[in-house]
Subunit: 231 residues, 2 copies
DNA sequence: GTCTATATATTGATAGAC
DNA sequence: GTCTATCAATATATAGAC
């Protein structure tokens, strides 16, 4: 599947649309340029994932990246460019686990490892998860076309895989779309609502072990909820 | 339980702390004043739930409320005041379903109706859900004390209720905290990720019926996942 | 490539006429 | 109570020296 391109709508607040035309800057190519860009993207991920597009400022990003604001703008001439780049690479990585759900595999290990991979992404890339969540809360103004296009297509395909398993009696007959939603929701919760999870679990149970506990619980929930069993 | 007070931290970005001291304005009391405030709060809920605290502007709120910016500031002298009020009333409503989970009731109808009520809140008050989610994504800077205090206390209590049922063999032995998290995650998903849900389900299944489908699915998932059964 | 200085727009908030 | 006008701070972005 080709990488997902994110086009920015330049009508963020209905004004400033005239700014859209900007002199093009040659594509960065040297190693040092790519490294600087990576530092900026890393810092931007921090800020955008917390504050959202509008709430984030170039000042914050520049400070987090350890460089001056004009210097940052030398590499990414516009705030939107940074966000666009983050969105594109995030979406590509984010959907990888679902793409890997294999129709020829056995349902039990396939679904189980899908849940495990999604939970690992929440553990290892929580900021990407929050960046995505932030965009969702805003109504996905910049990636709605991706959701209705590539994402819907992918989910339709995988829902078909699940339905096939249901017809073969290998998993319980249920709504495949809402099954996928529930896996997304439960796993991403540990990234997006991490503060709450840790606050509620407290000092004793809110440490690193919380992901192990979550993995055990979710595996249990979905194995019981999805597979035909005669205890 | 007393209403939850939300205190604002006046260190939003490390600056402007000197602004905190402000001449107090007499509490609004007349009917017309309360109505105006309600209009403002309604508009503010719209904007804050989409953009978060920093991303939202008084201009946007004023326009949505159909009044001028200075006029709005006559009723709420500071942006933070509006947000604070929304947070307080939202938190109070938001936790009501969990408070109502009754230890003397039967596990089956109790848990089932808790899930149903939470899903209904996502359907009927999606903006409140997104307001809460937005605050979480930012690391809950303004309600962390509530999460660690009232919320943790409430969840501890209800986790105890669930554990009691487990010891009596009425529900499957599992982690009560993560069970609660998974109910929160799956139900709130239909408010917070509403755009995605509708985009993926498409025109045909993304209409109002999606909540009915979700309710059926979730009831099924949790009943199978939580109750001892011998099919 | 990086900096200081600055242009320009937006933002939260206030002053003061009506 | 509501408005116009406006301030001070902050925002995105650019110019131009080095």
């Amino acid at each position: 599947m080709p990488p997902i391109k994110v086009k920015m709508l330049d009508s963020e607040n209905g004004k400033g649309a005239a700014k859209a035309a900007r002199k093009p800057r040659p594509r960065a190519q040297t190693r040092i340029q790519r490294e600087k860009q990576d530092v900026i993207l890393e810092a931007a991920l921090d800020v955008f994932s917390r504050e959202g597009f509008r709430g984030a400022t170039i000042d914050q990003i520049a400070e987090a990246a350890g460089m001056s604001k004009p210097n940052l703008l030398y590499y990414f001439p516009r705030k939107e460019e940074i966000y666009k780049r983050l969105m594109t690479s995030m979406l590509d990585v984010w959907l990888t686990p679902l793409r890997e759900l294999d129709s020829v595999g056995d349902p039990v290990p396939e679904i189980r490892s899908y849940i495990r991979r999604k939970l690992e992404m929440s553990r290892d890339f929580p900021r990407q998860s929050r960046l995505f969540a932030n965009e969702m809360l805003q109504g996905a103004p910049r990636i709605l076309d991706v959701l209705e296009g590539d994402l819907k297509q992918l989910v339709d395909e995988k829902a078909g895989v699940l339905e096939g398993w249901m017809q073969q009696g290998k998993i319980v007959r249920t709504d495949p779309y809402h099954l996928i939603f529930s896996i997304w929701a439960t796993t991403q919760h540990y990234a997006d609502f991490d503060v709450q999870v840790r606050a509620v679990l407290g000092k004793d149970r809110g440490g690193e072990g919380r992901f192990e506990d979550a993995a055990r619980f979710l595996e249990n929930l979905f194995m019981r909820g999805v597979f035909p069993h005669k205890d």
